[in-house]
């Protein structure tokens, strides 16, 4: 009798414990999920649905037979129009059976016209509020429609992740604008600082980074573009680049290429009697990697010094060109001078940070560039 009761008890216990063994009832196969890799934000002509939003989803479904490279695109673009981004994202559920996951988002492309029409913090609001989307995706601008850029058919690549890998090249060129994460964009927007977003263009079947767009801090809107030469100047001024090339000419217009190994930029702000000035000091080291001049004497100390002088002049010219555009045309500090000013004059900055861009536009600049050539290559002419 006693044993019987024990058995019944054990039996009940087993049944109850089955409830805990739920296993993977809630699982979803990776093939049945849609991973969002890229977002594109455009505006549409329709007033009722002002936002045109493109969602790029990586194809996880295998097309064709096993073992064979999948034919066709690796991605799927869904372009929808609506009033809010969240609504558009949810509308995807009307046409795609698989749930959308945004935690692998890599790139957000914003059409520059849309960015000049809308406050950027509005456009990115959904992404910043969302609990799944990370803050690491990159934000880029484009003159063309973002949906077009996302639909670039590169063999075996998904355009948005292809685009985000291009920015790893900042060790080879100074013409590339530094990549900007959503997190940084939000930081700049909330502190009303101006900043720069890389600009991408599509030429036939190629995506390319070409210059950058300036976002003005106060309006939080796009105001204009910088060419890749001007971006080079920004990189020199802000120390954002890693390494790259500097092309310059000698008196006879022969092209000489100086490869910057590393460089340092020091910004010394001065603020006296309401007059703001910056002293920009640059020190660079590098090699001569190409020299078209026929009269080159690579080993002569005088010749190397002459080249150093020419290179320094070129850097100064680049920076002056950039600053002219930033101060006169855009009145936007995208080179991070506010940081050095905040560090040196914290009290004054507290009062000035609201109208920083205006102060920046009126600032005087002095340059001191020191270029060192430490190697002239493997050739003796």
């Amino acid at each position: 009798m006693k044993q019987n009761r024990k058995m019944v008890r054990n039996f009940c216990l087993c049944i109850v414990s089955l409830l805990c063994v739920s296993g993977c009832w809630d699982s979803s196969d990776i093939e049945d999920m849609s991973f969002v890799i890229g977002f594109g934000i455009d505006s549409s002509e329709n007033d009722q649905t002002p936002i045109k939003h493109t969602t790029q989803i990586a194809s996880t479904k295998k097309k064709g037979e096993q073992g064979v490279m999948p034919q066709g695109k690796l991605y799927q673009d869904l372009t929808l129009e609506g009033k809010s981004i969240q609504d558009i994202l949810r509308s995807i559920s009307l046409q795609l059976p698989y749930p959308v996951y945004t935690d692998h988002l890599e790139t957000i492309i914003i059409n520059s016209e849309t960015a000049s029409k809308y406050d950027l913090s509005i456009l990115l609001d959904q992404i910043l509020r969302d609990n799944v989307t990370r803050l690491s995706p990159l934000v880029v601008l484009s003159k063309q429609q973002a949906s077009d850029i996302l639909d670039t058919n590169i063999e075996g690549e998904i355009p948005s992740s292809y685009l985000s890998s291009i920015f790893e090249n900042k060790t080879t060129t100074l013409k590339i604008a530094p990549s900007v994460r959503v997190g940084e964009v939000s930081a700049n927007l909330s502190s009303q600082a101006s900043f720069m977003l890389p600009n991408v263009v599509k030429q036939q079947n190629v995506i390319k980074v070409d210059g950058a767009g300036v976002i003005k801090g106060k309006q939080k809107k796009f105001v204009g573009f910088l060419t890749d030469k001007e971006v080079e100047g920004v990189n020199w001024l802000s120390e954002e680049g890693k390494a790259g090339l500097l092309e310059f000419h000698d008196e006879e217009d022969n092209t000489i290429v100086y490869e910057v190994q590393h460089y340092k930029t020091k910004i010394k702000p001065r603020f006296k009697k309401g007059r703001l000035s910056f002293y920009v000091q640059i020190k660079a080291e590098g090699w001569i990697t190409e020299d078209w001049s026929r009269s080159a004497h690579n080993l002569a100390e005088r010749y190397v010094q002459h080249l150093e002088h020419l290179a320094a002049k070129e850097v100064e010219r680049l920076m002056k060109g950039t600053m002219k555009k930033l101060q006169r045309d855009y009145e936007a500090d995208v080179v991070g001078f506010s940081e050095s000013f905040r560090i040196h004059y914290p009290r004054d900055f507290e009062k000035m940070k609201k109208d920083w861009d205006d102060y920046f536009a009126d600032a005087d600049l002095n340059y001191d560039v020191c270029i060192k050539i430490i190697n002239t290559g493997d050739v003796v002419k």
Binding site: R134, S136, A187, S190, P346
Partner: protein, 370 residues
């Protein structure tokens, strides 16, 4: 109960204290500081807060050492009489419950926001309670052992996750030092001191130490570890996000971890790892709080420690569902902070002064056995 099983070693005590101190502050402190201070000097507040915490823990230690082998619930009667002492004890129990409920609720909210979006919060809370009650029934020893085991791993992972944040670190965000003078730093003292609430539990635990003489050492190391972790967190978050950004981010700590990605090492993203470790810390803090409350009840009344635990479980569950939303939860945190100030500094110092004036002292009877 056998002798020796209710005593805890010095190392266990260090782990216990530091676990109780590392809690929801990891998530809330950076933003609180950024809002209050507003300059990059906020890390100095953490150090100053730590020093203040150590000073008040010294008061607690010297008070506890005057009454050997007696917990706060027992010796306060000796100092200020039975009635006042009982009222004080009840307040202390209520306060411990409040912290416990607060920690477990914050844990539930964050878990729901980042991990289990569709799970009802009560399910998250109740599973935690069940695990906790299983541990709590065993008394202080299993709790101390578990914490001793988990604490070093948690600390290592905290350090790892924060140090990986150096990828987005910019020193300029931490400059200038004392840019706007010392004024803002003083403003930041309150949130930091409030973060170190939990110190007052020493009032109960010193009585259980095998070597109460080590209590000062325990306070130093047990406080030093959390201060270091908070300091690391605040420095790296400030460097990575900038002060301006910390103000606008609901949970800056998580924002920092979400901002970097690594390729090539075991994990690419560290949010889940960090959350898991943090959950463990929240759990241990909750267990410590509930233990203190249950112990208090069992020493005040005739209810046994075990029964008290079950009763308190219901109480904590009800308290933790009082705040309707995150803002109210935050208000609850502030109230806790101020009560903590009373219990870790104000009350111990008054008790100590009275005890010194009245020359009260209590010596434990010599122990039998090992």
């Amino acid at each position: 109960m056998k002798m020796g099983t209710t005593r805890i070693t010095t190392i266990q005590m260090v782990a216990l204290l530091s676990s109780a101190l590392i809690a929801v502050g990891i998530f809330t402190l950076p933003r609180d500081l950024a809002m209050k201070v507003g300059t990059p000097d906020l890390w100095i507040c953490v150090i100053l807060g730590g020093i203040c915490g150590y000073l008040s823990s010294l008061i607690i230690v010297s008070l506890s050492l005057r009454f050997e082998r007696l917990t706060f619930f027992e010796f306060n009667k000796l100092i200020i009489g039975k009635w006042l002492g009982t009222i004080l004890s009840i307040c202390f129990i209520g306060y411990a419950l409040l912290i416990g409920a607060f920690e477990i609720r914050s844990m539930g909210e964050l878990t729901q926001f980042y991990l289990l979006e569709e799970t009802p919060i009560s399910v998250i809370l109740i599973t935690m309670y069940w695990v906790a009650i299983y541990l709590l029934i065993g008394g202080i020893n299993p709790i101390a052992r578990l914490i001793e085991l988990l604490n070093p791993i948690c600390i290592l992972i905290f350090i790892l996750v924060f140090c990986l944040g150096f990828k987005v670190f910019e020193l300029d965000n931490l400059r200038p030092l004392f840019g706007l003078g010392a004024g803002p730093i003083l403003k930041g003292m309150t949130p930091t001191f409030l973060t170190f609430s939990g110190l007052e539990f020493l009032l109960v635990f010193i009585a259980m130490m095998q070597k109460p003489k080590d209590a000062k050492k325990v306070a130093l190391i047990g406080l030093g570890i959390p201060v270091f972790i908070y300091l690391l967190a605040v420095v790296i978050i400030t460097g990575g996000l900038s002060v301006e950004r910390m103000k606008h981010q609901k949970w800056p700590t998580f924002a920092l971890i979400q901002e970097y990605e690594y390729e090539g090492i075991l994990f690419e993203r560290f949010d889940s790892l960090f959350l898991v470790v943090w959950l463990i810390q929240m759990f241990t803090t909750y267990v410590v709080c509930q233990y203190v409350a249950a112990k208090g009840i069992s020493q005040l009344t005739r209810i046994s420690y075990k029964k008290a635990n079950y009763v308190l479980l219901a109480a904590v569950y009800i308290i933790c569902l009082i705040p309707q939303d995150l803002n109210q939860l935050e208000k609850m945190g502030t109230i806790i902070g101020w009560t903590s100030f009373a219990f870790s500094f104000f009350i111990p110092s008054i008790l100590l002064i009275i005890a010194v004036i009245r020359r009260l002292k209590h010596e434990a009877e010599p122990q039998n056995g090992p």
